[in-house]
Symmetry: C2
Subunit: 236 residues, 2 copies
DNA sequence: CCTGATGTAGACCACGTGGTTAATGTTAAT
DNA sequence: ATTAACATTAACCACGTGGTCTACATCAGG
């Protein structure tokens, strides 16, 4: 709250890039073309972490194409510090997987080195203003990847021969309790039936799921979206 | 491949909206301001599905704020048909959860009714061109939600008192095999140790995880990112 | 040097679990 | 009306499992 007023203008930035020329290029660009204040630069992720702890900048421009400790891990560590530092990933590649992982771990922006300098300034502006910024072309790539992975996940669950579909309603209830680590006796009490009945159901479940014991049954249920079915299907 | 040439211009569109006035407004807008061809309209999701099967449009504009069968479910069904139809969600609310779910199930675009008409045309253009389009403000909202849910997931796994951290390396190996539904005997063979030793390890695991049986141990391991630890931590 | 953590192993026992067979009542579909 | 599917229960047995206690070897750190 208090901090909100401070960085309305003159956001403080740290730039991290193992390429010295590019580092200085970006630095000059920002110092000339924008109101931002480059408080430090680093050519390695580990140094960057120290500097971030020291200077507490609002923004970090992080090159993702570094050897040693790679940029993604660095971003993850910065996020873990939880200092409110907002990191923008800077890279040469528009690989969807890279974009996805960067955003996943908390990057607030993602810019290609090949993009126009105005684009970079704009991105910093947006991110400094508290937004998350991805250029349209990259966000499009991101979403394709995002949807693809989700589609595969859903298909692997609901598609093909999901043996869970052969279970009767009662058997599903029993399996549901099994996936909570409850014993025969416990299930019997919860369902108000005898322990023997539970055993029968469980045995039928084993046969239908083609497994030998409760652990395997539970694993099958979990891996094939027994619980997720509600999440994925009903609660879209 | 063959289809790629056909809809370079004159993409065929179906509009779905339970509000009749708005439906016609959008229709006129598209017919006047763009090159697209509105081949049909519908005021309910179920009718829309039939029309889509019949006309096989390239684009579907789907209102999300409908009663009866809601728009999200409709989009999911359309995706399931797998006809290559690209759906754009149209709604009054910029609720992050709604945006997230729409994109999750396969919407190729998401536009607010309050946005300028040019914005809508542009969105259709982009989506018809095979891209996925979210206006910057909405994509920013999406990413906040996306990152928040991921952060929570990671924290719930790695944070706080994760009892898995107290396991020794050997115990982790044993637990790993337990999570594959393997018995004492099987574990003993795989690790080249006696069955008794396995039992000792397993008992120690139970105590450390504060559970009573293998099923609960497996569940604890799965719920607290035993396997995910690698995925989440190492393979960022 | 010695303590503590770890991995290994055996023995014992109570109990939960898995496999099988048989039987009954209910309900839905043919 | 008859069948098929399902839910229910019993009795039995073999075996896996969980709990406890004891014991020994190794190795790192104080």
């Amino acid at each position: 709250m208090r901090r909100g007023l401070e960085f309305k203008k003159k956001a403080r930035i740290i730039i991290v890039d193992d390429n010295y020329e590019h580092l200085n290029g970006v630095r000059e660009l920002i110092e000339i073309e924008s109101d931002f204040d480059v408080v430090a630069t680093a050519t390695s992720a580990s140094v960057a972490i120290s500097l971030i702890k020291k200077y507490r900048p609002e923004i970090v421009l992080m090159d993702i194409n570094m050897p040693e400790k790679d940029g993604l891990t660095a971003i993850a560590e910065i996020e873990k510090l939880d200092l409110g530092v907002r990191t923008i990933a800077l890279t040469g590649y528009d690989d969807p997987d890279l974009i996805f992982r960067a955003m996943k771990i908390g990057a607030k922006g993602y810019i290609l080195k090949t993009m126009a300098s105005a684009q970079l300034i704009y991105a910093i502006d947006e991110v400094a203003a508290g937004k998350i910024y991805l250029p349209n072309t990259l966000s499009s790539r991101f979403f394709e990847y995002f949807q693809k992975s989700f589609k595969e996940e859903i298909q692997s669950i609901s598609d093909e021969e999901n043996l869970l579909n052969y279970l009767t309603q009662r058997e599903e209830e029993v399996l549901d309790l099994l996936t909570q680590g409850i014993t025969y006796k416990g299930v019997a009490q919860k369902l108000f039936i005898s322990e023997t009945t539970v055993k029968t159901h469980v045995n039928n479940i084993f046969q239908k799921l083609q497994v030998n014991d409760r652990t395997q049954a539970v694993l099958y249920a979990l891996n094939n979206g027994f619980l997720n079915k509600r999440k994925v299907k009903i609660a879209i």
